[in-house]
Subunit: 201 residues, 2 copies
């Protein structure tokens, strides 16, 4: 088991370095040689760990989804109230996107045109599970608040994901807006858009 | 003048084809040879038109911003009421993003890590002008509606751009949601989030 754990950690280290190189050179512009060199492996050693360049991209994206699970979803799973659960999910997801440490992985995760066939389907399935989780929470919040929903949960979910995932394009953690201000402003904005009013925090 | 017009059209044709190839192969994965072949020029002929691969990427992004100007901003510039102007800008921008014809150009426009130095600065300046236009409209809408603004115009502007620019990730024009439903739902959602209520259309 220690060996399996070490091997998982090694794979994650490789993914993190590969993300930086894909981010800088593009998936097609980065060679396995570039990545092997940055990781400190021979090219053969790198292939031994990851199988192929496609597989490496898949593992990197899969790792991106693992980070979402581990740092966002695990933390909110005990929350029973749907509004609070959704609010905490928004806060956690924003934190993930603006965290410099994971920037390259989350950006590459969303540029998945380079991934093809069955591997792409697997990643898209994991993304869809997360979208369904958000949609379900939104539907529960709408139901709890009574009245006719103002927009379909799926459109609200994608509006939310767009707002959050776009942050990497502009938000500077060292800039004029503090992360806590951003998070509060965005959560309130979303709940107003969803329901016409801000729920108590 | 006819010659300048023809040359501009030729450049736009090249940009459109290059966008498709960059979209498929990535900027670094696509060679000038690939693009020359797709355009029906020799490699030397392509260099004659665009100068360099960097310059081609710049021209393509510049063309993306021209499309935004020509198909969105020109159409709303006579509208005096800020709410209506903002609403029509939202409708026009959504239409631009979901229009299959311009998908590749708008996607490449936002993946501008490949562009470096002065050319990147020029594109970012054009993007910033558009963001300021949206921010100013939002500030006018907030002022018109009176009361204390619920969030800073810049955060509202980026939330809006995120919602809209993310559409390329999921919206299918042939899918279950009609573009007109999407547009209305998103414009209403945005105005509710901004002001706590939906303005009359």
């Amino acid at each position: 088991m220690a060996q399996a754990g070490e091997s998982k950690q090694k794979l994650r280290d490789i993914c993190r370095i590969a993300a930086r190189i894909f981010y800088e050179k593009g998936y097609d512009g980065a060679s396995m040689q570039d990545i092997a060199k940055a990781v400190g492996l021979t090219k053969a050693g790198l292939y031994h760990h990851v199988g192929s360049k496609d597989r490496l991209l898949f593992e990197l994206m899969n790792y991106g989804m693992d980070i979402l699970d581990e740092t966002v979803l695990q933390k909110v799973k005990e929350i029973a109230d749907p509004r609070e659960k959704l609010r905490q999910t928004i806060i956690g997801h924003i934190d993930l996107i603006v965290r410099a440490r994971d920037l390259e992985i989350t950006v590459i995760l969303h540029e998945n045109r380079s991934l093809k066939g069955a591997l792409r389907k697997k990643i898209n399935l994991r993304k869809r599970e997360y979208i369904h989780y958000i949609e379900n929470l939104i539907a529960q919040v709408q139901e709890q608040s009574g009245g006719k929903p103002l927009l379909p949960p799926s459109l609200a979910a994608f509006a939310l994901l767009g707002m959050i995932n776009w942050l990497y394009q502009w938000f500077q953690p060292e800039g004029p807006t503090k992360q806590s201000e951003l998070t509060e402003a965005y959560a309130d904005f979303f709940f107003r858009g969803l329901m016409g009013s801000t729920p108590p925090a």
